[in-house]
């Protein structure tokens, strides 16, 4: 145990490892906050769809030779997020639309990367952006600052709009009917989701973002009975999973993203069992 601890301390002396932890914690907090709303609104898949859009946008940015790929990825993802939430009320159902955009963007991104290769090893590039294997360990100081600023923005927005987000998630029709400007809040939610997705790409890669968004919420919903405790619990679960996952991936040199997700899955089963026991105890 002491040996592992020592090993960890050595690693933490490297700035890029510290950056990875900072970004990991921030992103997992933001993703989990949104997760509760998305899961409850039956929008679990939006994270997945948007992450593929972000992947496509990143591919375009790479071809254009941009060093900061967020300049393209962020606005594109935000626009698509708004479009998806807007068309929800229209004829095309949300899930088929998301599936379409998701697959389309993924295919287009990979195709573009192949036609205009920006480096000699495309499959490694693709693998990295899909699974985030080493991305998080290559963060620059600027990226950490951007991440910090955006995370604070998301946290503030979430706290300020908390009661409205609850009302809209629980019953959007009631909120609209009684005069709440649901449009503004839905727009805010869409923008926050898009930001979280682009940020989370650095942590777990685009294939696994959904996991970061939905697992903590789903786990917490097994055990807790009100919105506030579910939200707080998701946040804690998410941070714990990210930290444990990061440490495990450093110690056993496993890819970061999948390791975090595996920890999330384990926690889900623990909470699932706890929920069953709790319900039995109540009866």
């Amino acid at each position: 145990m002491g040996e592992i601890f020592e090993q960890l301390m050595t690693y933490l002396e490297f700035p890029f490892v510290r950056y990875a932890f900072i970004v990991g914690i921030l992103v997992s907090i933001c993703a989990s906050l949104l997760g509760v709303t998305l899961v409850l609104k039956r929008f679990s898949y939006i994270g997945d769809g948007l992450s593929h859009v972000a992947f496509g946008a990143m591919a375009v940015a790479a071809i254009a030779g941009l060093t900061n790929k967020m300049i393209i990825a962020m606005p594109v993802t935000i626009i698509v997020a708004i479009l998806i939430l807007k068309t929800k009320q229209n004829k095309m159902s949300g899930d088929s639309l998301i599936a379409m955009i998701s697959v389309g963007a993924l295919a287009l991104g990979y195709l573009l990367m192949n036609i205009f290769p920006s480096s000699s090893n495309i499959s490694a590039d693709v693998c990295t952006s899909l699974f985030g294997s080493t991305l998080i360990l290559t963060l620059s100081k600027t990226e950490v600052w951007i991440c910090l600023a955006l995370s604070i923005l998301i946290l503030v927005l979430f706290v300020v709009f908390y009661n409205k987000i609850f009302a809209i998630t629980f019953d959007e029709n009631f909120a609209t009917a009684t005069g709440t400007k649901t449009g503004i809040y839905n727009l805010t939610i869409a923008i926050i989701i898009a930001i979280v997705v682009v940020l989370a790409m650095n942590l777990v890669g685009s294939l696994l973002i959904s996991a970061l968004v939905i697992f903590p919420a789903l786990s917490s919903m097994r055990v807790f009975n009100n919105f506030k405790s579910v939200t707080i619990s998701s946040m804690i679960v998410s941070v714990v999973c990210a930290v444990v996952g990061l440490i495990a991936s450093i110690i056993w040199s496993t890819p970061v993203g999948p390791t975090i997700v595996v920890v999330d899955i384990i926690i889900f089963f623990i909470f699932f069992a706890a929920g069953l026991i709790k319900r039995k105890a109540v009866q």
Binding site: F170, F174, A177, T178, G179, N226
Partner: protein, 232 residues
């Protein structure tokens, strides 16, 4: 005093008209029952009045100083709510949201109001319980308490008893009756024709033929007799 006027209203979805040329008025203190067969557009009408669907043509006017934020609404339960982790108190408090503007948190007045609404619906003992663990009747009372938290002026109810057992149904109707005698205007859709009409003072029948008027007129009218005969 008139609170709501609908003039030559045509309603429907996606360019297909469900109900055409509908005119009626609701006065403050009225108890209006909206009846008609399944699929004739009763819910569509309620949603149009609430502003969730745009009317195809015609006008909806609120008068007597009534604003959109003065409307309480008891919707049909949605799928989302069945496993929603929210405490009774959280749900009832959320009735205040429309009046908050951009203020982020509930003030004391709003918390007090939520408490009163909980008391009125006899929910104080279970305010910490989760909405998803309640019986159908309790859930309806929670949603009604939320609506009352939003306003006590006018209440629109979309099939308030459809998911309730006989006892829950009787309780629900008596709660609505009490609210009405305390001055709340009631507009209610119901399938359960006899009980629905019993407490109402006005009836709006929509469908192939349209009727709007006092309850007694309706009971003696050709359309009313035929519809009620069909029910029994």
């Amino acid at each position: 005093m008139t609170e709501l006027i609908c003039k030559n209203l045509s309603i429907g979805y996606d360019n297909s008209i469900v109900v055409d040329n509908l005119s009626f008025e609701v006065n403050s203190g009225d108890y209006l029952a909206i009846v008609g067969e399944n699929g004739v557009g009763k819910s569509t009408l309620i949603k149009t009045i609430l502003g969730l669907i745009k009317p195809m043509s015609g006008e909806i006017e609120f008068s007597n100083g009534l604003k959109r934020t003065d409307i309480g609404y008891l919707p049909q339960q949605t799928n989302i709510q069945k496993d929603f982790p929210a405490s009774v108190l959280e749900v009832v408090l959320s009735g205040n949201v429309s009046k908050m503007g951009f203020r982020p948190f509930y003030n004391n007045e709003e918390k007090e109001k939520a408490r009163k609404c909980l008391e009125k619906m006899e929910l104080r003992d279970i305010e910490k319980k989760s909405y998803r663990d309640l019986s159908g009747g309790q859930q309806q009372r929670v949603l009604l308490a939320r609506a009352l938290c939003a306003t006590e002026k006018i209440l629109l109810l979309d099939e308030p008893v459809s998911s309730l057992d006989p006892k829950g149904t009787i309780d629900m109707y008596s709660i609505i009756r009490e609210l009405n005698s305390a001055g709340t205007t009631i507009i209610m859709i119901s399938h359960d024709l006899n009980s629905a009409i019993k407490d109402a003072n006005k009836v709006l029948h929509i469908g192939h033929n349209i009727f709007f008027g006092e309850k007694n007129e309706y009971l003696n009218s050709e359309i009313g007799k035929r519809f009620i005969g069909m029910e029994i």
